[in-house]
Symmetry: C2
Subunit: 266 residues, 2 copies
């Protein structure tokens, strides 16, 4: 067993949707969350830049003594695919999300929503086809979703229209499962469900990673916290912003962060 | 007279709306445009981070031998207010935009649209009040405008709704002049005009800076190109992206760039 925290990083606050699910599923584990808000968003950057920033974030978390790393950012996950780095286990969102989508899909027609970079990288399509060569993948980049989520326009006719614009063409392909390929997107789950209706399974990265960590605990690939450990959640960002701090609290609710701090990762 | 190029920088491609106006107004001047696309957007970053990145961009342009610098980015302009830096003249967008708005306004009720950081900095409000203490300023942050412009949804009902959401409350204040306080916003000028109607003067940063440079040529504060010089326009970005390269060409049209290059400014 191992009381050290799990490190979670994202380019911003979207990864908090993953942190929230993990903190609720593993109530004795502690978490150190790093939001690289000074350099967000990663979605519009080149593969090389995303890789470089991701390595800097991973090195920073390793220096803080984490026992595992969760890359709660789809753009970063598409450029950082190792399952281990310097002796520490790494979970990205691409493999767990793809595996969960395949386990839920009956007709093996799977949709993927993501940022421009994630869709362009083809990361989900490659992973889905690697796991199941009969799958059909239909992808859609949704550059407006992150700013809508960050604006807090969650129950909003404008958001419904934007979701319709991006998602409706996917509906015509006959998909039965839809991967929310950006950690911000669970914030818009209610608007997305208005377009997908009840028949399409939505795949949330947080739940997919939690399933995988639970399996790794059983397989003894992951050392859980000790029985007497109590959870501590720390949120680090590379840039200060009141708007993001208040949005972070809303997203995490009912999980409580013990500390919010600005850090320089260089 | 001085044949060296004018350096123009922005966090991304929005500043190309300024470059376009300047290249058309001064057809013998050459331009070196730097888009810090690896670190965009600046609008969501802290004042300290924006200042640090801006200084790095200015130093880079100075090393390339520019004769003047235009900060075609409102977030950067709000943190970099010097009119001279290391012996070279610096034009930001805050002062020219404010001066032009005051010259156009009859009732001295002026609206400002901008990113969250520009509005929060109060840069336009401070400058407007410094220039004319009787002015009333009404500000509105519009975080969706940049992604809408970058998505190319220019003539689009969704854009019209978002513009209405942000701009309609300003209309009720009785403003007669509206500063487009982000260099991306001229791309949405047609949608903004649908809400403001014909009675409100829109202030575009590019035109405001061009006016100021023209005045500085007359006052001999700015050395223009030689009569035989022919224009050369180079576009540098800190990150490669096909989407941005094609959008850049659209925005600049009919101005033609002679070179597109990715550079490392460190």
């Amino acid at each position: 067993m191992d009381s050290r925290p799990i490190g979670v990083f994202d380019s911003g606050i979207g990864g908090l949707t993953v942190l929230k699910v993990l903190a609720q599923r593993f109530p004795r584990e502690s978490f150190l969350y790093l939001g690289d808000t000074a350099r967000l968003p990663y979605g519009s950057k080149s593969p090389q830049t995303i890789r470089r920033y991701s390595e800097q974030n991973v090195h920073y978390l390793l220096r803080q003594g984490v026992k595992a790393i969760v890359i709660a950012c789809n753009s970063a996950s598409s450029q950082f695919t190792e399952s281990e780095f310097e002796g520490v286990g790494v979970y990205n969102v691409i493999h767990p999300g793809s595996a969960r989508a395949l386990s839920l899909s009956k007709n093996k027609k799977i949709g993927v929503l993501g940022t421009r970079a994630t869709i362009k990288s083809g990361a989900y399509a490659h992973e889905l086809i690697r796991l199941e060569d009969q799958v059909e993948v239909f992808s859609q980049a949704c550059p407006l979703f992150v700013p809508l989520a960050e604006e807090g326009w969650v129950e909003d006719p404008i958001t419904n229209l934007v979701v319709f614009r991006y998602v409706q063409p996917l509906m015509k392909t006959g998909i039965d499962t839809l991967i929310l390929g950006c950690t911000h997107y669970p914030i818009l789950k209610s608007a997305i469900t208005k377009v997908t209706g009840g028949q399409i399974e939505l795949v949330d990265s947080g739940e997919a990673i939690a399933d995988l960590i639970a399996q790794d605990i059983v397989r003894q690939h992951f050392k859980p916290a000790r029985p007497g450990d109590s959870q501590r959640v720390e949120i680090l960002t590379t840039d200060a912003s009141d708007h993001f701090a208040s949005l972070a609290k809303q997203i995490l609710e009912p999980v409580q962060a013990h500390d919010f701090r600005v850090v320089d990762i260089h």
